[in-house]
Assembly symmetry: D2
Homo-oligomer: 439 residues x 4
């Protein structure tokens, strides 16, 4: 660290300290320093790791995050490189801690080794998190990081530290579930509208239809540190019988009172914050919603999804056996989309091949190739029924030739199916899929 | 793990799974198994670390915590021994991960090493924390652990893992401050009464006096995962001038409207949960209260504590120089407690020796020996004035010969004093202490 | 109105107006005027009835109520005399309005007559009610008035106006019912404790027992204009079977979870504000509580009171027939209170005479003489069972020789019993009373 | 009342009673009776006035209001005729009560007279108001009534009773003011959008602009009996300087933080419920908003409206003097709307004539002819400045040739101006209007 840099650093601390003493506010401090944000964030991180007190840390963490918010994409990339290169581990520290442990392998030696093996950026991120509102800002920083990694995979190690800390901060016990209806604050509803990407909303009336009706529900998880930000939400339709297509769910006029419905359909599950990738709540949310609905609506007998199959079309096009190739060819002519008879003729084969995709196909990690299937099967659900054609939205036609699946959440079977899936990769499936497989 | 144990384990998993499928409830499950809690908790922890899904983990974590709640003190001790011996690190794993890293010192190798150096109990505690209400139960478990460590210091390493995780879970950003007044739920007030140990409350009227009056305030921090549990709270008296004794604060009739007060006195700060030892909020709480009060009451000029000096009497009795010995002897005759003239005669010497105790005395870690002094000085406060005799409560007479101190929180000086204390151990102090030191 | 008075009045208006323009506050205004409250309230009322705008009225109404609060009991009496004599009707206005109506009996003429027949104090009270917090102050003013009427019955007409307006303001639709439990603000709990007069509470632990337990509930009505003031509340015990004495209800340790109870016992109903006498909510409260409990606790089969019989002893002592005289004599020897055998011997006769008191005895208005009986029978309940001896509290021994009654609220019978009671004075009663009557 | 009618009535009571006993629900009851709503409402009102208890009254009142909701416009008209003819006063009762009073003119006699002079429909309305949600339904009933009166003025007397009762129920002390912002429930925001008629909203983004911005506020009054129904609301823009036209207010992009604004502009005040006509809250709302804003935003110096002049065009067209006729002619050519120079040329004369309209013109009741002027002047505001052209909306061009006025609320002057307006009809006005008048 050069002399000039050091001088700036001490000015920086001086300025922050002065500010707390009643001198002019943040804006002035920064103007006085007149340094670009890329320098300010470096300085602030450096100060944060030094020997200063908790209270100063809060102020410095605020400065750091404020500077981060001003960075250009390139500067962010540079900042992540800094995190990779200067806030990792120090090999010599590891070596000497390891030697000390080999010499006397007691608990203190393990703890000392732990401290030097944990990358320094974990400490840095914890200290940044002291600033008011920091948690959400760090989630968004990770979103930037995930983009940056796509360009430069060598940044990947940083993400492990983010993932580790976010999993701890977004502990399931800190989440609260709330039903979102027409009495929810508009500020939250607006976010719901923006975050719905599975079946996009067409403005406020569509939103209203999805949460203010007798036969619709919407539930979301919130975290105290991210306030009114819905982290994940699920949209539920209360129906009679299991639906076989998404159109009627999205477009049906409001139905009678919910007490008559026998089925709850989870037709859209959305993770709101890309920066929370891999910190999974969906499992908990679905189970808590099932618990709430079953205590409120005693007529409900069946909890089921109506889910997309996002990987089907790509997988199909990659298959080389004759049946798959023939099917891909047949589907490539869009005539079936407007001709029910044609669709009906194709259906048995679509089901047969799709059943194979869901039930028997495996990735190199011995998992089903479809991400939505992995999610619901991993939760203990059963692949209950293939529906084709079920979704004519262009994106659904492109990704899955219009195919959708009902996954069934049967309370009495969830644990056993879940264990079987986790242990042996067994895909629980219903009679329709079994039959289709046998074709 | 013997054969019989394994059989029980599989029964256990089976039983939990069966339960979730709609079979009889928890009580029945356990009765059916008819195993003592000490076995059940071992089994549950073992299952938790195995390859089971999130949802099963919640159920098993609940079982584990329920079993823990039934353990006798001796069984708890045995459980902690289990955590120490079976949920630490595996030396051979460390050795081979280290070798791999030495061979190819990249980020993946560091991550692999990190995973084996982190004691397994951290993972275990994280998984226990999935159960509803687990966080508070784990805090109480740590309280037990701290007791256990006093008997068996070899358990100490476990506490490092608790401390590490609790610091992350009780991140400052997850806390919310609330003013507690006479409109607070009785359920919270009841806890406040129980947790106040600095100046104990004499029942509901005393409580009411401390929080429903024009000239009193009480603020507490809460955490979403521990609900209505006040984690720490501070009691504030609004006065004219800095008080020199606690009696008038505790016993004064309600004063005029708060707008006339020029001083806010923090006269009692209580950490509620022993299991959160070392996870410090006091610093943040005091600063947030100062911010709130100064925005509400524009007449306030001075923020000051009236604090006990818990280590004074013991320290004095350990001193061997003539002045200290003479003072200890003089104070041992309780006559001064009822004779103001005698007290007045002793006062200069009490102040002189007490100033030495606060300002110049140091522990081996180069810190002031008094824990309350360390807290406030570490927050950036100044040791403003010694008050003697100031507290005639038997506990205060015993611990500090009735001595109290005002620590002054001067916003404009806090950062500088804090930095000086952290960096050099400098104890900021007022004119009265400076003068007393010179005697 | 003398010249001096007029001068004061104009000063008064001037002062209020000046105050609103930013001149010194209320205290100064009044000190400047240096007039006693009895003059100030007269002046304010006079101004209120004059031609001033709404905004000025709010300020003047505040002045009037502030002055009222300073009046001595004698001055209040004088103020009520003023209301009686100067804020009634003007005979000549009635005469001419009547003549005009006789001349042309159209709707306008009726309206004109209505205006002059309505005592002026109704307008005055409505305008006083414009001040913030006025409603509660007017309720308390009526409480004073009811005391004053006991000394001077000629004030009675004023009360009709109060009763008329309060019935309108405390319309049932404006009330909200809240469950009060241990999470209620202490400020409300404190009032509950003060207002409970049927079975007095012995401090906070007793209060806690009555509302924080699994087998106890407390519900209250609130009105938006009186804020946290519980207007009426009912205490409920959840039991197995109908209780026959109050002791076990008040002293029993907390029972198992409420779901097992089959009976809800309304064992204490308290009207909090004496100034709301005759504005009845009890009927609505009980029915709403029945509705809430039956939707929450599906095991409940029976809704019943355990009620005092406050008029029994006095009535008994006034009876002159041989049986009653003999019973009164027997009860006057307190030996039965400690000797169950003696009590058992007396019981058949106590029941027989008490059944007569409840079922067949009538006042000159053809109603049952007991006020509590009138309330519950008027609500449509049935006099279900006499319990003797059931309450050994001194007040209960004095008022009712320890007698209590269960009134049964049977949803399917309420309307019919209520109509029969209102129409014909029929007292619905259970088999035990029927049998006792026949003795 | 014919025999058949009586039979129906007793069936009706029977049916209601049966229902409460657990027999089939409301729908069935009515179907069983198979009577049209016009008969059912008559029967229910008749029962309500009879000798039945409070609890039955609630059920019957519900039936009555349910039947009312089914009436066609013609049937409503017939129902109002019933209220007029059968629920008024009984002349013979008035005569005999009057005679009794003349005979013995004491308080009881006045009370008796009062009872017979009050039209029976007041009692009826009070009893209808016992039903849950009745208050809002009665407000809507009055809205229907006001329409009906326009067709048949002989119904007018009924409205006096409605007005009398609603004024009492919607007492200012029962109202609560709430700020409505982007965190308000969508269900309320939707109503705000529907009720805004002064400057209509163009959908959700427009709504958001008006209440979620730094420089906009919206405040509303609510009543406990009408729940989430905003009774009246005012929209406020925070600006620098007094605005002279509505366009910039409605279309300006969001401004800087509110602390910089020195002026609060009340640019739209809407009464939501036509059925509350004459029950005025606007006065209280404006004053409470002024109080809230001045305590929150210390920079505010000026509270002013930007108000329409709804009666100007019609008044102008009715004037016969040369200047007015000439101005009307000049304005009738819309060229000025697109040609600033032409508008500038016309402005002095528009201001002169408009000043006359506002300041000197009087109705037969000696009030200014403009209703908005009457409202603000009656509140004590000053007609501060004429703005022309200020509003190019078609409705504003039609009603006021685009004229708007700023009324100034100057706290120090409000009372005096209000008193002068009420007492003498004096219109407080600013220098610009004074000058224009002199032209």
């Amino acid at each position: 660290m050069g002399k000039q840099r050091l001088a700036f650093l001490s000015d920086f601390v001086e300025a922050i300290t002065r500010r707390t003493r009643g001198a002019p506010g943040e804006a002035e401090t920064l103007k006085a320093l007149s340094r670009p944000p890329s320098e300010r964030i470096k300085a602030a991180c450096s100060v944060l790791m030094g020997r200063i007190g908790d209270a100063s840390r809060v102020a410095v963490a605020e400065q750091a995050l404020a500077a981060y918010a001003e960075l250009s994409p390139d500067e962010k990339q540079a900042f992540f490189e800094l995190l990779r290169d200067s806030y990792g581990v120090v090999p010599d520290q590891i070596r000497s801690a390891y030697a000390a442990w080999e010499n006397k392998p007691d608990a203190d030696a393990v703890a000392a080794l732990f401290r030097v093996v944990e990358p320094a950026r974990q400490t840095l991120l914890r200290r940044l998190n002291l600033a008011p509102g920091a948690t959400l800002q760090l989630v968004r920083m990770r979103e930037d990081l995930l983009s940056a990694i796509r360009k430069d995979p060598s940044l990947e190690p940083i993400d492990q530290d983010f993932a580790h800390l976010l999993a701890s901060w977004f502990n399931r016990g800190f989440l609260t579930m709330r039903r979102i209806d027409w009495n929810a604050p508009a500020a939250i509803l607006e976010k719901i509208m923006a975050y719905e990407t599975v079946h996009r909303m067409q403005g406020w009336p569509d939103l209203r239809r999805r949460l203010a009706a007798n036969d619709r529900r919407l539930y979301a998880f919130f975290h105290p540190a991210t306030g009114d930000e819905p982290l994940i939400f699920v949209e539920v339709a209360l129906t009679t019988g299991i639906p076989t297509a998404i159109g009627p769910i999205l477009n049906a006029p409001e139905a009678a009172a919910p007490v008559e419905a026998d089925t709850a359909v989870f037709y859209s599950i959305n993770n709101s914050l890309a920066g929370l990738k891999g910190v999974s709540f969906g499992n908990f949310l679905i189970k808590q919603v099932v618990a709430v609905l079953s205590s409120e609506l005693s007529n409900l007998r069946c909890y089921v999804t109506l889910s997309p199959v996002p990987g089907f079309a790509r997988w199909l096009s990659s298959q080389t056996d004759d049946r798959a190739v023939a099917l891909a060819k047949a589907l490539s002519d869009p005539a079936w989309q407007n001709d029910p008879a044609k669709a009906e003729a194709l259906r048995p084969e679509v089901e047969a091949i799709a059943a194979r995709y869901i039930v028997t196909e495996r990735t190199s990690a011995n998992l089903p190739p479809d991400p939505v299937a992995r999610f619901h099967l991993g939760n203990g659900a059963q692949a209950h029924r293939l529906n084709w054609p079920a979704d004519f939205a262009p994106s659904a036609l492109k990704a899955a030739h219009g195919l959708m699946i009902n996954y069934l959440y049967e309370v009495a079977e969830i644990e056993a199916q879940h264990e079987a899936f986790v242990r042996d990769g067994t895909v629980a499936h219903g009679a329709q899929l079994a039959e289709a497989l046998a074709r």
